[in-house]
């Protein structure tokens, strides 16, 4: 049977979880050997991606993307982090910032397949649609 990327990532996580870093190293070496044996080395990048997702999920880490029109100051970033932490019940929030002038103002928060659109542009579109009606 074909083993999916998700299954690889999950088994790697289960093998590593709760081990010291030296122990983990051994496990990873073995894991790579297994991949080579099964001719799945080409999938390594995808497995890593999936593993990071899994790790973050289990440890309550949220990697969110925040897009804004202008650079955000520290105060705002802190507030945003608290907001996101509350939204997704996260212990730790990692934010990657992105500047997009087209938004005009406000922020868009993206996390996995969820989007909270708080940009001025979206508000204006909404207002326009309402007034046309």
């Amino acid at each position: 049977m074909k083993i999916t990327v998700k299954q690889f990532a999950l088994s790697l996580y289960e093998a590593i979880d709760g081990k010291t870093s030296s122990q983990a190293k051994v496990v990873i070496e073995k894991f790579v050997e297994l991949l080579a044996e099964k001719n799945q080395l080409a999938k390594a990048n995808k497995i890593i991606e999936e593993f990071i997702k899994l790790w973050n999920n289990k440890h309550g880490i949220v990697q969110a993307e925040v897009a804004s029109a202008n650079e955000l100051n520290e105060e705002t970033v802190k507030l945003l982090k608290n907001y996101i932490a509350k939204l997704y019940n996260a212990k730790q929030v990692i934010i990657s910032e992105k500047i997009d002038k087209k938004l005009l103002g406000g922020v868009i928060i993206k996390y996995e397949d969820k989007v909270v659109d708080g940009s001025l542009k979206a508000r204006l579109v909404e207002l326009k649609n309402k007034m046309i009606k």
Partner: protein
């Protein structure tokens, strides 16, 4: 002039005031949305990553990326889709509309609602596509409500047996294969032998019968539908009819949802306690469209390459035709599905499926059609399983004998082909049968009202037309209608109102027909 200026400035102020008010009252709330990305697109099918919380048959919104949209004239907006395959890490969706602008990586939004169509009194007299968007250029549809396209059919508790008839205005059908309100009667036959014509005649005859009609054209040539709409308009049938059109050039996704959308529109009237007649023209093209979608979604093919759930595809649609009991409003949906056979092959997959689902079928025979007996209904193979209980007493009285005569004639006609000497009795039966066949002939777009039908059948079974030459029957018939309208209006009215034939009335009818015959020169 000055007045005009003042007037203009006040309207300007008024508009500004209104704008200010709207903007100050404008409230927004932040909402979390689930989005995904297109990872594969083609043939009207998209595979999407993300949207982890999508429901089955949920509406999706695609945003064709700006660059692709600019090339096309429709730069305006989004395209809707429908999630059909929920797999482990991706979603298979069909795109309802133009999918050429969408490309890999485009954003997809969940709309958190099952696909639904606008319905209400505003759709009557309109031509719409399966999404309820107007196609007739008569402006926006004024929808009272939105109804979900897929709905579970009414249950046993809410139903009632069929007891009121649908007058199709086609003599052979109303007499031999009667249809009741809430029945599902299949019209089946080869191409080009008048399947749609029967359905259209039935729609035209619903005038003043307290019926709403919905004609669902699936994969039909748009020229044919345009001609049909013109015909319906001309005969005044568009006052109570809606045409749902998924043309031959529309993507398979629209063809697939068309009958369900039509049924959803009908359910609005059902819930209001009204009677609806819905024609699905035709379901074989619908099955083909569904096969296309299923194969593209990589569902395993079965017999004739149709997917495994092709039976459920039609059974869930036709189960929605029903007669509700009085406590639940007493409305009904009568369905006339149409199936096109290939070279008369009734035992193909889709025809056998639909025959087993429906409450009877009207079988059209190519031989009869080319012999000139139109509508080419084969009385032997056609049945109606529930409709006879819906016939009026008057019709039952005349039709019962006619069924017998027709059956005897068929038997004898086959037998006498060997050309042996015939006794007097057999000859008389054959002659009667020929006249019966002649009476069943009827032109397109010329429905006959129930009272006239009963009158002419009454004449036949009582031997009053036995001395009319076979070639003259159709003249005799049209003349009789005219004569009866002039001199027998009272008798006709009594037939229509009482729905039964008393002895006195029968004598009156006999006298009327005899008087008419005396005025003829043959």
């Amino acid at each position: 002039m000055t007045f005009n200026l003042i007037f203009m400035s006040t309207t300007k102020d008024f508009i500004v005031e209104q704008l200010k008010e709207q903007i100050t009252n404008f409230k927004t709330s932040l909402k979390e949305q689930t989005v995904g990305r297109v990872i594969e697109i083609g043939d009207g099918i998209a595979r999407i990553e993300g949207i982890s919380e999508v429901m089955m048959s949920e509406m999706l919104e695609f945003f064709p990326s700006v660059k692709a949209a600019e090339d096309k004239k429709a730069a305006s907006g989004s395209v809707y889709g429908l999630a059909l395959n929920l797999e482990e890490d991706r979603v298979g969706a069909i795109i309802l509309g133009d999918y050429l602008g969408i490309k890999q990586g485009d954003e997809v939004k969940c709309l958190n609602k099952i696909l639904q169509v606008p319905t209400g009194n505003g759709i009557i007299g309109r031509v719409v596509n399966p999404l309820g968007e107007p196609l007739d250029g008569k402006g926006e549809i004024q929808a009272d409500k939105f109804y979900p396209v897929e709905k579970i059919a009414p249950g046993v508790i809410t139903r009632e047996s069929v007891r009121q008839s649908v007058q199709t205005g086609i003599k052979v059908i109303d007499a031999i294969i009667p249809i009741g309100r809430g029945q599902r009667e299949l019209i089946i036959g080869d191409r080009q032998i008048g399947k749609s014509a029967i359905a259209i005649d039935a729609i035209i005859n619903q005038k003043d019968q307290n019926m709403k009609c919905i004609y669902v054209a699936i994969g039909q040539k748009e020229s044919k539908v345009a001609g049909l709409v013109a015909k319906l308009e001309q005969s005044g049938a568009m006052d109570y009819t809606t045409v749902v059109l998924a043309g031959a050039s529309d993507p398979a996704s629209l063809l697939y949802i068309a009958p369900y959308a039509g049924c959803a529109m009908a359910e609005y009237f059902l819930d209001k306690g009204e009677d609806v007649l819905i024609v699905y023209d035709d379901l074989s093209k619908h099955a083909v469209a569904y096969r296309e979608i299923s194969l593209l979604l990589k569902r395993p093919p079965g017999r004739e390459a149709y997917p495994g759930d092709v039976f459920y595809l039609h059974s869930r649609l036709l189960e929605r035709a029903c007669k509700l009991s009085q406590e639940f409003g007493g409305g009904s949906i009568t369905a006339l599905p149409i199936i096109e056979t290939q070279a008369g092959d009734m035992s193909a997959y889709i025809p056998t499926n639909v025959i087993s689902i429906t409450d009877g079928q009207i079988y059209l025979m190519p031989e009869l059609f080319y012999q000139g007996s139109r509508p080419a209904v084969d009385v032997g193979l056609s049945v109606s399983r529930v409709g006879s209980s819906a016939q009026t007493k008057a019709m039952k009285k005349v039709a019962g004998k006619m069924k017998l005569e027709a059956a005897q004639f068929r038997e004898l006609a086959a037998f006498t082909q060997f050309g042996s000497e015939l006794d007097k009795d057999t000859k008389a039966k054959l002659e009667r049968g020929k006249r019966l066949q002649e009476i069943f002939k009827q032109g397109q777009y010329s429905p006959v009202c129930a009272a006239n039908q009963i009158l002419v059948f009454f004449a036949l079974i009582n031997g009053l037309v036995d001395d009319v030459p076979v070639e003259k029957i159709s003249d005799f018939e049209t003349g009789l209608y005219k004569y009866a309208a002039m001199f027998g209006a009272k008798a006709l009215k009594e037939i229509t109102d009482k729905k039964d034939l008393s002895e006195k009335l029968e004598a009156e009818m006999k006298g009327l027909i005899q008087d008419y015959k005396n005025s003829l020169d043959y």
